[in-house]
Subunit: 446 residues, 2 copies
């Protein structure tokens, strides 16, 4: 993309009402625009990152054998009356009446609807195990929306639901989700720590939240510092292998790691003192096993191999897709702007032309642009007739991990400059070598 | 995907309340499930086609230089009060009140919000031309939703908006949209004829609807039969070339083609009698140029090169993404089921194992499956322990364009059968030759 043809409304001034850094940078980098309290437009740059995160979530869910579908944003109230949650949910549920006066709601989550889909088609254990998920807009009418996309009202979430014949199978589905979430967060450039959580209104005995450590996190967290040494890495996983998935769960959850909701001082005290850590964390996902809570109340039953008709064991598993943009920025920025991890960056590499209109500089930029595009990468070429300082400030603010700077002086020596946004380090390379290095970087993370 | 692990709830019986063939087949093929009047879940097979159409629409819009973003589903009422449409829109607008009693609505279209975004950031002609678009869920509270996804209440639409300094530039944007829409529909396997339309409540002097001819179309259409001979084909287009784009517009719109809303008997009579045709059509898109209607009422102005501040010229341009599934099926089916065009098929090729459990048949199917996946295609392997008749009926109903049938008898002679869903013709080929042929077919349409 050429910046002269793009829509990237960056702002110099810090918006007064944005309290946390991710909200400030998303506004300043022209990623989002508030349309009403807690309701945002995703401007082109923000939309690109949102789509990239969505793609990674889809890929990792499908790798785990989970099947995508899409439920609508609006739901009829009667499904929620059946489960008993229509009255319980309170003011966070946005209730709507249509032109015929029928009670509807904007879905805050989808346990009822997915259970309705399941019971509409499945009646035999032979169709199990089954995990269905979708990524769809949700609405929770927060009393006090704030922190930009971190606590919006209209938000984008992946929510998945497993249906299994037995508790044992359902706990394997739980483990599969834990494993797939660890992979997902690492691809997003995040360390998200599974912490024992509280079932809350959805209920559930087995539940973990995934937290990203950040000063601005809404939760206080307590953990054994050994958990931050763990990394999923590029290990091979067979998602059908119950023992292997259980092993990952144990590896990542056996050490103490809890939020304030479940914190237990006595347990924490057993952790050696030098490893006892307190910090703040941002919740970016949660997995639940809740047994037969919905399948009993809504009649989602199957015939087992013994001929008995039994309610299925279920769980629900969520990743806050839109919230993740905020979490990634909270975890990865400096005082000049955002620093995107390579896995989610909206453009792979910036190209800054220091002297737009200079024949050699223009030609070199065009040739870099074509070479990067030819390799399947998306460069963002700042081809505007602006001063170098302004171009650098924009690049730093929007946070592309790599930048190639092209100027007449360097070109006389046959070189351009390749700069890492994270380290700030630059090296002079021939244009061909710079392109080759950028291509190699992205091949390694694909 | 292996069918034994997928969620494809096909139905034998024809649903009683589905009046048109696309609705019946989408229900029977397990593509959609009605959750409330005019509100559907997209089951896995339907979701795959929806995503494929969305991808093609994105690709063609971006090829034309249009920039994607994403506006929220809910909008504050005050934007619509500014434009004057809040009271005009009537009962089709779903009006919502949040917990603080603020008036909101579920967006039926986005002229107001996109104009608000534009005026929030752009103030100079130097940032023009600009076309922004999104693909997002919309809601129109139809009094009588029907025909499945063809006239739903919650529907998925691509809507794009151009901002230009002059009427001339805006008409070029209009032409760009016309060209990109012709390309889009052809990639979807559809012939969509641009017909002169009526501005309706959005207004506009220049507007064309795109109609797909089908018996079940909601509009009566009148046209010169020469329009159905036109095809966009694989011609190269430079979207910046005003003359070229205008040429395409003239080629595709100079002959008589109108819906009943704009039909003019006297004009139609000038068409030679043997070329005068009457039929029914499904509207799958519309383009509008409406000048300064919204930019004046909402203050979307820029400073021109002469220093004058003037309202921008705008247009809006829509493609009914979810409705397209219905339109494609109406245009492409037989009495056994759907026939997907290669460009949108949910899976590229079916594999039917005639004797599940037979060692040679199982091994041959696995090897075909791996070869197709290895080539980047998505096969659907019917690995269930079912009778051949049931497997063929499912394949015909869900409409994959190609099927490879594998049985012990053929394998003794070293062959499998490759069958075209459209023609019903089969040929015996070695497994390697069958794979090569399927790969070649999709290479040609990519």
């Amino acid at each position: 993309m050429r910046l002269s043809r793009y829509f990237l409304p960056v702002m110099k001034d810090t918006p007064a009402d944005a309290q946390i850094v991710s909200h400030r940078y998303m506004l300043r980098a022209g990623m989002i625009r508030q349309q009403a309290a807690g309701i945002y437009s995703w401007l082109p740059l923000g939309f690109k990152v949102l789509k990239r995160i969505e793609e990674i979530v889809h890929e990792e869910q499908q790798r785990a054998g989970h099947i995508p579908l899409l439920m609508p944003t609006l739901q009829p109230a009667d499904l929620w009356q059946e489960s008993g949650r229509y009255d319980d949910y309170g003011e966070e549920m946005l209730r709507i009446s249509d032109r015929h006066g029928r009670d509807m709601l904007y879905g805050p989550t989808n346990e009822e609807m997915i259970t309705d889909i399941f019971r509409g088609y499945v009646s035999s254990y032979k169709d199990l195990p089954l995990t269905l998920y979708h990524i769809q807009w949700k609405f929770r009418d927060e009393r006090r929306p704030r922190f930009g996309v971190m606590r919006g009202r209209e938000f984008y979430m992946k929510d998945g639901y497993n249906f299994d014949l037995t508790k044992e199978d359902a706990l394997h589905a739980y483990n599969r989700h834990l494993v797939s979430y660890l992979r997902t967060y690492e691809r997003l450039g995040l360390q998200a720590i599974p912490m024992r959580a509280d079932g809350g209104p959805i209920g559930g005995d087995y539940t973990h939240e995934f937290l990203v450590l950040a000063e601005t996190g809404e939760s206080e967290v307590f953990y054994d510092s050994e958990v931050t040494d763990l990394s999923f890495g590029d290990r091979e996983i067979d998602y059908d292998d119950k023992v292997q998935c259980q092993g990952v769960l144990e590896e990542f959850t056996s050490r103490y790691a809890r939020t304030d909701e479940t914190h237990d001082e006595a347990e924490f005290a057993k952790v050696p003192e030098e490893r006892r850590k307190t910090a703040r964390g941002i919740e970016v996902g949660q997995i639940f096993y809740f047994g037969t809570k919905y399948s009993e109340s809504m009649g989602a039953k199957v015939q087992g191999p013994d001929g008995q008709v039994v309610p299925v064991h279920m769980g629900s598993h969520g990743i806050g897709v839109s919230r993740l943009l905020g979490a990634i920025i909270e975890a990865s920025h400096d005082d000049k702007g955002i620093i995107w991890p390579e896995g989610v960056t909206p453009f792979h590499c910036g190209i800054v032309n220091l002297r737009q209109g200079d024949e050699a500089a223009d030609a070199a930029c065009e040739s870099l642009y074509a070479a990067l595009e030819g390799a399947g990468l998306e460069p963002l070429y700042d081809d505007r007739d602006e001063r170098a300082g302004g171009k650098f400030a924009t690049q730093d603010l929007i946070g592309l991990p790599w930048r190639i700077t092209v100027g007449p002086r360097g070109l006389k020596n046959g070189v351009v400059e390749l700069t890492s946004r994270r380290t700030g380090e630059s090296e002079e390379l021939t244009p061909e070598a710079a392109v080759a290095k950028v291509i190699a970087i992205y091949e390694n993370i694909a």
